[in-house]
């Protein structure tokens, strides 16, 4: 058996074992799969600050939430770090990366519908920022749609730092890697429940199956995204607000 055949066989085996990879659905399924769990999340688009004729009104989504299956006992992402001993079946990934495949798009927002495995999940990160210092877990029940609400992100700049100035950007364009490196900031994320001002839940999703998310704070894990780390609410945002010692808490409903 060559390597390609073996990989295909592993994928088929994983799907037969009920651990098929997650999927970002482009349309609402005719019926919810009772063996799967669904997540609904809305991303508001940022307005484009450049107002040249013909330029986009909104900036396209580049990054989004990265979700991962979480082991609450071993306190790590399943199959990684401290939870390495409790790996998922071969071929199943514990991580659901962001995929820009909206189920509904109404400017200025995009709504994603994810089909995932029922389990305890954690908000692992946003883009390449890992919320290893403190994040939220939530449980996905089979046959239900968990509404994460509306999520938005911001750069969590340290005190006295901020985005690069226009002069620095121009210098970087000319000098390339020899230019002074601009400061970097990890991302932070906030959730808020859906209101009547936001996108409605797509038609075809039975309303009795939709339930708002119940976040549990305090999840920690390793840095598996290879980028910066942060607390989901933002370490620097908390320091700036003068609440440096308050524990990680979910957003107010």
């Amino acid at each position: 058996m060559n390597r390609t055949t073996a990989a295909v066989a592993a994928m088929i085996g994983a799907s037969l074992a009920g651990e098929a990879s997650a999927e970002a659905l482009k349309k609402v399924p005719p019926a919810l799969n009772p063996g799967k769990a669904y997540v609904l999340v809305e991303y508001p688009l940022q307005r484009n600050p450049i107002k040249f004729p013909g330029s986009r009104t909104y900036i396209p989504l580049m990054d989004g939430l990265v979700l991962a299956r979480y082991d609450t006992e071993l306190r790590d992402v399943r199959g990684l770090g401290k939870a390495k001993a409790r790996a998922l079946p071969k071929g199943a990934s514990p991580v659901e990366p962001f995929r820009n495949r909206p189920v509904a798009a109404v400017p200025p927002s995009r709504m994603m519908l994810l089909e995932l495995e029922p389990d305890t999940w954690v908000v692992q990160g946003w883009g390449t920022t890992s919320f290893s210092l403190g994040s939220y877990t939530f449980t996905l029940e089979p046959g239900t749609v968990t509404d994460l609400g509306v999520v938005s992100s911001a750069a969590d700049w340290a005190q006295g730092e901020g985005p690069a100035k226009a002069g620095d950007v121009i210098a970087a364009a000319f000098l390339g890697p020899f230019a002074k490196r601009p400061k970097v900031a990890p991302a932070r994320v906030s959730f808020r429940p859906r209101t009547t001002q936001d996108m409605p839940i797509p038609a075809g999703i039975p309303s009795d199956r939709v339930k708002p998310v119940q976040f549990t704070p305090g999840a920690e894990f390793g840095n598996y995204l290879g980028g910066l780390v942060n607390r989901i609410e933002g370490v620097n945002a908390r320091l700036k607000a003068g609440t440096g010692e308050t524990p990680s808490a979910p957003p107010q409903k």
Partner: protein, 139 residues
């Protein structure tokens, strides 16, 4: 212009490896036992070790160009990785209540003259003293 270098004993970013003009910056939290400092440093260093430099690839049929690109990509890739790792250490230690302190000239000289192991111990002790020895910076 003097550059700043964050010192993390756990990561092995020691004074000896920094340029002569570099300013020594260490993390400080008042009245913290050495075991706690070691544990906090260890956890943050673990997260910083997870940083990967972004890969830049340019395809060219010319072997000399490919070699030059690979050389510079590796060179600037490690700089990128080091800067990201420093940011991880800074955010992680700030989350644990540590402040960054720019070491005084005397302390800097003292540390430079110490053997590697003693320097490590001195840095761990310094991180938990009642008062910082140097200028306190923003977190």
């Amino acid at each position: 212009m003097r550059t700043s270098v964050l010192v993390s004993a756990s990561l092995g970013w020691l004074l000896v490896a920094t340029p002569a003009s570099a300013t020594l910056i260490y993390f400080h939290k008042p009245d913290t036992p050495a075991e706690t400092v070691t544990s906090d440093h260890g956890r943050c260093a673990e997260l910083a070790a997870g940083v990967r430099a972004p890969r830049h690839q340019i395809y060219t049929p010319d072997i000399y160009s490919a070699a030059a690109v690979a050389f510079f990509s590796g060179l600037f890739g490690s700089r990128e990785r080091r800067l990201l790792a420093e940011n991880v250490m800074r955010t992680c230690m700030a989350d644990r209540g540590y402040r960054r302190v720019e070491a005084s000239r005397d302390l800097e000289k003292e540390l430079r003259d110490l053997p590697k192991d003693d320097r490590l111990q001195r840095l761990l002790t310094l991180s938990g003293t009642a008062e910082p020895d140097g200028k306190v910076l923003t977190p």
